[in-house]
Amino acid sequence: MLGKRFNRMAFGSVVGVMLMAAAACGGGGGTTATEEPAGGASSPASGLKVGLAFDVGGRGDKSFNDAAYAGLEKAKTDLGAEIKELSPAADGSNRGDLLRQLADAGYNPIIGVGFAYAEDVKAAATEYPDIEFAIVDSASSAPNVTGLLFAEEQGSYLAGVAAAAKSEAGHVGFVGGVENDLIRKFEAGFDAGVKSVKPDAKIDVTYLTPDGDFSGFQAPDKGKIAAEKMFQDGADIVYHAAGDSGLGVFQAAAAAGKKAIGVDSDQRQTVTETNLQSVIMTSMLKRVDVGVFEFIKAFQGGAKGGQDVTYDLKVDGVGLATTGGEIDDIKDQLDKAKQDIVNGTIKVPSQPES
């Protein structure tokens, strides 16, 4: 008896759910139908549709990805472009699919932010030969791919000069997100910059995760522990190239009453926590925004890919942020170092010594 009644109940709920699902689908169909003409009408006069796919960590990292987004937004305001930005799943498994979805939705050009896109941009560029692609931090791999590269070691050299000049203990630190060749460029430049001012300075170096494990770019807890250790050991300034994990470095600096150097964006401005802003002495700017915007502008002007564009100190593709005025007193020293690098008097290594 009870069994029967329950069956009826179960059956009833199944049917009910199916009806609901059907209703949801029906309603959904309606939305899509009304959406399309609206989307078409709102497309700006320039007809430029720019797609951008973020790296793991996504938008809101107050650093690398946000810098790329700033360039995209500039294209929207200055060039009248219609823009769409997508973030990958936490495991990064759908990077390629994001590029394809943008291509299928009519976006051209499409930008992959981060070296991890290398293989996916290459594949997508082959599948969609009529669409122009760009990749940040990796070289061009096809005739319709532009590589947007940065001389991180040069900017990091300046960060090293600033850190050494400002360090009272003669002891600084470097926290890298993932131990790969890109982040090692930051370390190499920083190292050379510090040594150029204080040859006997002590530099603590920690990488949060080994190569291939990208979690180091989004682990503020690990960044905090690494920086805490450095501050306890006597370092008074820590430079990070660790994406999202940099937040932890700033937290550690705030707790220890010491200083930190941000990366990619002007983090003193982009970090929302006010208590953390004051610990960010300066930031090594990697003008991904300039790279992204210039690429879109060049595309509009009819430029084609197949080559790399390197943004270095000469074109202010890298540099130091001056927000807060904490490095104003060593401006001459920094300007001289910059001039020497631009002239070629100083050659900054892109691989750490050891």
Binding site: F6, C25, N94, Q101, S138, D211
Partner: protein
Amino acid sequence: MPAGLNRALLTLAGAVVAIVLAIAVCSVAIVAAGGDPLHALTAFFDFGASERAQSNSVATLFNRAVPLFIAGLAVAIGFRMNLFNIGVEGQYRIAAICAAYVGSTFVAPAPIQIAVIIVVAMVVGGLYALIPAIMKVTRGVNEVIATIMLNYIAINISAYLVRGPFAGARAEGELTVSTPPLPDSGMFPDLNFVFGWFGMLAPTREGGLWGFLVVAIVLGVVLWVVLERTRFGFDVKASGLNQSAALAAGVNPKRMVIAAMVLSGAIAGLIGLPEVLGSTGSFGTTFTSGLGFLGIAVALLGRNKPAGIAVAALLFAFLDRAQGPLQFANIPPSVIEIIQGVIVLLVVVANEVTNRFALRLEERRAARQLKVTA
């Protein structure tokens, strides 16, 4: 009404109620994130406007489901014996890199090449799972802790191998590292022709519809037969339900622990192969990680049965695929992870509730029948 059908209906109703509840909870999350729930629901079914986009989307869905399905199977074998193999994550990563590397070192006709790669992956995965199994039977080390620790070791070893001994030539100006590429004979043929049967365009995405789907289906069927229709499967089940009873019935518990763990690890070894043999042709920095942990959720959701795991894997793949369309609909990507979490939680709760309900029904019926005969 036969008890089996009763039970099946109950399960189905439980799952459906769980999904409806999940949609309700997620709607709240979507509204909180500033989106429109109806819009989001549409996005799940938005496979793209052009035929090309639709074919690619379908291929993406199945390509995502295949590794999840295999991961679910690997975890489920342990679960059926009350063995928590949390180490699937490490087992599949170390197996994938070894298989990809070995496969790149020689060239043979395709069937041999692929067979060798598959065997290497299964052997490495199985051997890596043998470590915690031996620790458990000889020293009583809890397999949960042992496998978690072994995950860290495996992840770091594979990260070391891919940039060191197993590293292949790196393209000029690229920062990603990977094992040397497999020869063409190592690439598993795709299943793009299937799309023709349905009058669809063949997918243009790299690798198309991965042929490893066939291996996964065969694996699922074989495993079902082994678990449900053989002495070994019965022993596994008996050991899981009641170890002392199984021992009394002549099942050697130590042997069972080792056999189940090694089988679980061997299947785990296959998780990475669809991707390696299907599109990338190598194990690199962008190799998909985390599938071992997702496999735990998939196995739970599928109640440790191959058919259920297949449904669960497809559900997960369906949700994952919508990451792009959801963002086109201005829904933040993190919401999708909330949805997955909520569904798994609710389905597990629903499973438990329906289980208890079914048990009570069974007890009452038995009581009633006893009264009649008395």
